[in-house]
Symmetry: C2
Subunit: 328 residues, 2 copies
Amino acid sequence: MIESDELLSIRAAELYYEEDKTQDEIGSILTLTRWKVGRLLAQAKANGFIRIEIVHPRARRLPLERRLRETCGLTDAVVISATGVDDPDELQSRVAQAAADYLTALRPVPRTLGISWGRTLDDVALHLRDGWARDVDVVQINGGVSLNRRAGTAASTAVSIAQKAGGHATLLPSPAILERLETKQAIESDRAVSAVLDLAAGADAYLFSAGAADAGSVLVDSGYLTAEDVSGLVRRGAVGDVVGRYIDAAGAIVDPGLDERTVGLSLESLRAARLSIAVIAGAAKHAVASAVVGSGLCTVLVTDEETAVHLIEHHPPVQDSEGQRGTA
Amino acid sequence: MIESDELLSIRAAELYYEEDKTQDEIGSILTLTRWKVGRLLAQAKANGFIRIEIVHPRARRLPLERRLRETCGLTDAVVISATGVDDPDELQSRVAQAAADYLTALRPVPRTLGISWGRTLDDVALHLRDGWARDVDVVQINGGVSLNRRAGTAASTAVSIAQKAGGHATLLPSPAILERLETKQAIESDRAVSAVLDLAAGADAYLFSAGAADAGSVLVDSGYLTAEDVSGLVRRGAVGDVVGRYIDAAGAIVDPGLDERTVGLSLESLRAARLSIAVIAGAAKHAVASAVVGSGLCTVLVTDEETAVHLIEHHPPVQDSEGQRGTA
DNA sequence: CCGGCGCCTGCTCATATGAGCAAAGAATGC
DNA sequence: GCATTCTTTGCTCATATGAGCAGGCGCCGG
């Protein structure tokens, strides 16, 4: 008899959702009382037979956001719907749009915003509307100026975000990674650089992305690393990079020597920030996303549905290293 | 401003459908009146942003059924949901199940039911429950006994359907297709055969399927035709067979000579029937389905979603040759 | 065979939602 | 600049739906 109830609930659901009949009408069609129909419908929902989906490029997955916040200890999360999106560029674009929306709606409005650079950030800048905020100053938090074509976009990302908010951009006039430690120390002690780093360290909020550890990384693309360097890092456990620094699944620096030669905000500073927004999309970045979220590098994550599910399923991949920041 | 309304309607839909908030609550979250929220929700639905799907192997597509009935002039249609079903066997099985359900619910219960045979019908027989009806006699409407292994199932299909209804089966003791016209005429004049054909002609209802015109057909499988025969027929416009008779897209006999040698109910008798139920599933049978429905061979069609859409989109593929039977 | 227990049914009542309408606002033409 | 028309807004009222409860039914142990 329980099986016939299931079937009935399906018949009722068809009439209710597809034919827009009232429960009462369904009752007379199926010779049931209207309360029974209501119960069948509730049952169909509870059994998961009714699937409601919002199909729109800007649609979000609120329940996933909540679960992400709860299981990963984030203060906030934005998860965009990605059913039927197979093109990674389209996915990235949608997530970037969502990040732009998040920034725009962010209250209180940060006076200074620290940003990294890369394809994703560029995309976010593109999606921000003119006047998205008033007087927000932007400061780069990792090096990358003037090494090649790609570096140009690093500057333009920052400038574009700042301009659209009527603020101004402060660029970090330094390569991302230097060949010798001494050079790095020298450049860091230079007033022009250290002032920017100080500004970056005092930003009200950070916005950054992460790169997958593969040869397609912007760091390779920009000439800071070779494909061989990256595969070496991968062999040592690297899952990706954040503000130019390669981390393993636990969020720890993979190659301290390399890290020493990398100019920019330290991961500790990022972890200590009150508000740091990570924007990470795509299957290729599932591993980095895990590391970033699991090691507390961000307080807010903007991502796609699949990545969110991955993060939730692969639970807190790090034991308990979070906790400095409150769990809503 | 119309764009911001669209976005708002998506936000509202997320809160309404994913978070189960009341329109009033959504109103206070988005600082909108509750009526505005209601309108946004209605708008989101109207724009097709809200997709409600019933996920269940027995789920049907009522709106498609209606459209199918209306555009194709059927008295009834059953369309089963097939989203995410890629396995053709699974599809066939679900449609067969639906046909079995339809038969079971059919009122008035037919005293005699004429049936064809084949993989699909076999599947329908399998899905019928014991006691699906009381005292329904079953009669085969086309030949096919005792030529090979496959023929055995033809008999068992009929017997099974009859047994489960507590009635008895009458088999047509003849091959489906004979090699010589004289033999066919001789066998048809035999009392044992003609009596069955008379019974078949007087059945209250018919249940049949259709085969695609390819080498995988049961007629080839059973040895009545060779793969070459079939490709010859295809060259002459055949799209598939119904009760052993090959038809073209317009529902006309492709090879009158062959048809003359085929034993069983004529297509005219089928077209004249008050109740004839076709069970056709799968992409391979889209073309036959069109021919069957377009030429009025059935009054009721049981099929899958994709086939239904195909039929509706390829409109009445025949000019106006329907009309003998009332259009609801 | 009977009483107790728990589930299911059909109800009342409270709440949520949709239809229809009058007024406000925006857009247009004069 | 003003009147007209069309759209949008906030409402009232009717309807649809869900919560919660009392009675009835079957199931089980005694």
